[in-house]
C-alpha cells in the first residue's frame, strides 16, 4: 500500500508553503529592483534563488506523482497552480540590457539582412525597376506622370521643390518638428504595412513596393524635366540612404513571410511562418531604427536650404556608403553572444 493522499499532503505541505512564500517574496522584491548576486534575482539572495529552483523541481515531482496516483483533484490543482506560477518566475527574461541591444544592432541585424539576400534582390528590383521606367517615361513625356500621380499631388510637389520654394524648401523651421513627427508616422506605417502584407503570400508586399517605386519615379522624373533636379536630389540624397533601404528591407521581410507560406518545405505552413517571423525579427528592428534616422535627417538636414547642395551630395554619398557597408560587412565572423535571443 503506497502513501495515501493525506500522508502525501502532510509530508510535503511545508515545502509547498515555503515555495508559495518565496514566490510572494520574489514579487515584492522585484518592485524594489535590487540586485544582490551575479545574476538578477529580484532582491532575493542567490542562495534563496537556488532554494526556489530546488523547491520548484520538488513540486514538479510531487505534481507528477499526484497526477499519476490520481490523488484528489484539489490536491493536483493546487500543485498545478503552484508549479505554473513558479515556472513563470523562474523562466522569465533576465537580461534586457545594453549588451543585448548592442549585439542586436552590431551583429544580428546585418547578419539577418544578409540571410535574406535573395528576397532583398527581388524586393529591390520590384521597387527600383518601376521607379526607373516611370522616371524615364516622365522625363521623355512629362504628361505620363499624370497616369501615376494626380494633378493636386503634383502641385504640392511643385510647391515644395519648385523655384518659388524659399529658404526652407517650402516650409518654415517651426514646421521641421511637425514634419519629423509626420515622417515617422507615415514612413514607419508604410514599412510595417509592407511587412504585414507579406501574409498575403507576398503579393501585398510586391504591390506596395511597386506602387511606392512608381510614385518615386514619377516625382523624380517630373522635377528633373522642370529643371528642379538639384533642389530635389540634394533634398532626398541623404535620408534616402536610410529610407529607401528600409522600405526595401521591409518589403523583403514581407516577401520572406509570403515565401514561407507559399513554399513551407518540410514544415507545416504554421511552423514555416513562425520560423520566418523569428528569422526576420532583427531585420524588422533594423528597418525601424533606419526609418527613425531617416525621419530625423529628412526633417532637420535635408530641408535646410542654407546647406550648399555640394555638401549635401557629399554627406549623402557618405551615408549611402555607410548603410551599404553596415548591411554588407558588419558582424561577419563575430561569435554569437552566449544566451542571446
Amino acid at each position: 500500500m503506497g502513501m495515501t493522499p493525506r500522508q502525501f499532503e502532510a509530508r510535503y505541505e511545508p515545502a509547498w508553503q515555503e515555495l508559495e512564500h518565496a514566490l510572494a517574496a520574489l514579487d515584492r522584491g522585484r518592485s524594489r529592483r535590487r540586485k544582490t548576486g551575479p545574476f538578477p534575482t529580484g532582491g532575493v539572495p542567490v542562495t534563496g534563488a537556488a532554494r526556489i529552483a530546488q523547491l520548484y523541481r520538488q513540486c514538479c515531482e510531487h505534481l507528477a506523482l499526484a497526477r499519476e496516483r490520481a490523488y484528489p483533484v484539489h490536491l493536483v490543482a493546487r500543485l498545478e497552480v503552484l508549479t505554473a506560477d513558479a515556472h513563470q518566475r523562474i523562466y522569465r527574461r533576465h537580461d534586457f540590457g545594453l549588451a543585448a541591444l548592442r549585439d542586436l544592432l552590431l551583429r544580428r541585424v546585418p547578419v539577418a539582412v544578409r540571410a535574406l539576400r535573395w528576397h532583398l534582390l527581388v524586393a529591390a528590383l520590384v521597387f527600383v525597376l518601376p521607379a526607373l521606367v516611370v522616371g524615364v517615361a516622365t522625363w521623355v513625356a512629362p504628361q505620363f506622370a499624370l497616369t501615376v500621380v494626380d494633378a493636386g499631388a503634383i502641385r504640392n510637389f511643385d510647391k515644395m521643390y519648385g523655384p518659388e520654394a524659399g529658404e526652407h524648401l517650402g516650409r518654415t523651421s517651426a514646421d521641421d518638428w511637425k514634419m519629423f513627427g509626420f515622417y515617422v508616422m507615415h514612413n514607419v506605417g508604410i514599412a510595417f504595412q509592407c511587412f504585414a502584407a507579406g501574409i498575403t503570400l507576398g503579393v501585398g508586399s510586391l504591390v506596395m513596393l511597386a506602387y511606392n517605386g512608381l510614385l518615386l519615379g514619377a516625382v523624380a522624373g517630373l522635377l528633373v524635366t522642370r529643371g528642379d533636379s538639384e533642389r530635389f536630389f540634394s533634398f532626398v540624397i541623404t535620408h534616402s540612404a536610410f529610407e529607401l533601404t528600409a522600405i526595401v528591407l521591409a518589403g523583403a521581410t514581407g516577401l520572406k513571410l509570403g515565401h514561407a507560406l507559399l513554399a513551407p518545405g518540410r514544415r507545416t505552413r504554421t511552423q514555416a511562418l513562425l520560423r520566418a517571423a523569428r528569422e526576420t525579427s532583427p531585420v524588422v528592428t533594423g528597418f525601424f531604427v533606419m526609418l527613425l534616422i531617416a525621419a530625423m535627417l529628412e526633417a532637420f538636414w535635408s530641408s535646410s536650404a542654407w546647406i550648399a547642395p555640394g555638401v549635401k551630395y557629399g554627406v549623402g554619398a557618405a551615408c549611402w556608403l555607410l548603410v551599404l557597408a553596415y548591411l554588407g560587412l558588419q558582424g561577419r565572423g563575430a561569435a554569437p553572444r552566449d544566451g542571446g535571443r
Binding site: T4, P5, R6, Q7, R30, Y56, R57, C60, L63, A64, A70, Y71, P72, V73, H74, A77, E80, V81, T83, A84, H87, Q88, Y91, R92, R93, F96, T172, A174, D175, D176, W177, K178, M179, F180, G181, F182, V184, M185, V188, G189, F192, Q193, F195, A196, A197, I199, T200, L257, T270, L273, L274, A276, A277, R278, S281, V284, T285, R341
Partner: protein
C-alpha cells in the same frame, strides 16, 4: 472532452495547463484599450492646444503620440510585468509564449506589428476569423509570434473533500472507480445534496450498505451521497 485548455510541457517534464482566451474577451479588451488610447490622444492634443502649440512642435508631438499609441502601446505593456495591456488586465488576460514561458521582446513586437495583417480586410476580419476557427484562439499575429493570450486566473472547480466519518467501500475498488469517487467528492460542495445523491446512487454497488454496522459502530447514513463522501475520506487516507 469539450475543453479549451492547452497543455505545455516544461523542461521538468510536467504539463502546465493554459486556458486560451476566446474572441469575446479579447475584443472587449481591445475595446477598452481603444478607449484608453482615444482618451489619451485627446488629452494630449487638448493640452498642446491650450498652451498654444497647435502648430509646428505641437503637431509633431501629436504625430509622435499617435504613432506611440498605435504601435508601441501594446508592445510596451506586454513586456512589463503582468504581460498585458490595461484592457487585457481589466479582463484578467495575459500574453505568454505558447510554451507557457513569459513573452519575449521579439515575439511581442512581431505579434503587435502583424495586427496590421489581422486588421485586413476590414475591422480585424482575418483576426477574428482566425480566432473563431482555431482551438487555441490565436490570431495571425499570435501564430507568427508563437504567442497565446490566456486567462490569468486559475479556475478551481474542485475544493477539498467535505468532512465525513470515513468508511471502507463494500468491495476493493479499481483505480478508475477510486478516481471517479474522489472527483465527485471534490465537486460535492458545488452541487446540491440531491444531485450528489443521484450521482452517488450510480455507485451504490460499491458503497457500504445503509444497514452495515460492524462492531456496534454507528450505522452509515441512509442516503447514498453522504456514504460516498465517507468512502472518499477513506480513500484519501482517513482511516
Amino acid at each position: 472532452m469539450l475543453d479549451t485548455t492547452l497543455q505545455a510541457e516544461t523542461p521538468e517534464g510536467i504539463d502546465i495547463l493554459l486556458r486560451p482566451a476566446g474572441a469575446v474577451p479579447r475584443v472587449l479588451a481591445y475595446g477598452i484599450d481603444w478607449i484608453i488610447r482615444v482618451v489619451a490622444f485627446s488629452v494630449v492634443m487638448i493640452a498642446l492646444g491650450s498652451v498654444g502649440a497647435a502648430r509646428g512642435l505641437g503637431l509633431a508631438l501629436g504625430f509622435l503620440v499617435y504613432f506611440g499609441l498605435e504601435w508601441l502601446y501594446p508592445i510596451v505593456f506586454e513586456l512589463l510585468p503582468g504581460a498585458a495591456t490595461p484592457g487585457k488586465r481589466a479582463l484578467g488576460l495575459q500574453v505568454m509564449m505558447d510554451s507557457g514561458l513569459p513573452v519575449t521582446p521579439a515575439a511581442a513586437v512581431t505579434r503587435n506589428l502583424l495586427r496590421a495583417a489581422d486588421f485586413l480586410p476590414m475591422l480585424f476580419g482575418f483576426g477574428v476569423l482566425s480566432m473563431l476557427l482555431r482551438a487555441d484562439f490565436k490570431r495571425i499575429g499570435d501564430i507568427a509570434a508563437g504567442t497565446l493570450v490566456v486567462h490569468k486566473d486559475h479556475v478551481r472547480l474542485a475544493g477539498a473533500l467535505p468532512e465525513a466519518q470515513p468508511m471502507a467501500p463494500r468491495v476493493p475498488l479499481t483505480r478508475a472507480q477510486q478516481v471517479a469517487i474522489l472527483r465527485l467528492a471534490g465537486r460535492a460542495r458545488r452541487l446540491t445534496p440531491e444531485r450528489v445523491d443521484e450521482l452517488a446512487a450510480l455507485a451504490e454497488g460499491v458503497l457500504p450498505p445503509p444497514d452495515f454496522a460492524p462492531g456496534g459502530s454507528a450505522p452509515p447514513p441512509i442516503r447514498p451521497g453522504p456514504r460516498l463522501l465517507a468512502v472518499a475520506q477513506w480513500l484519501a487516507g482517513q482511516r
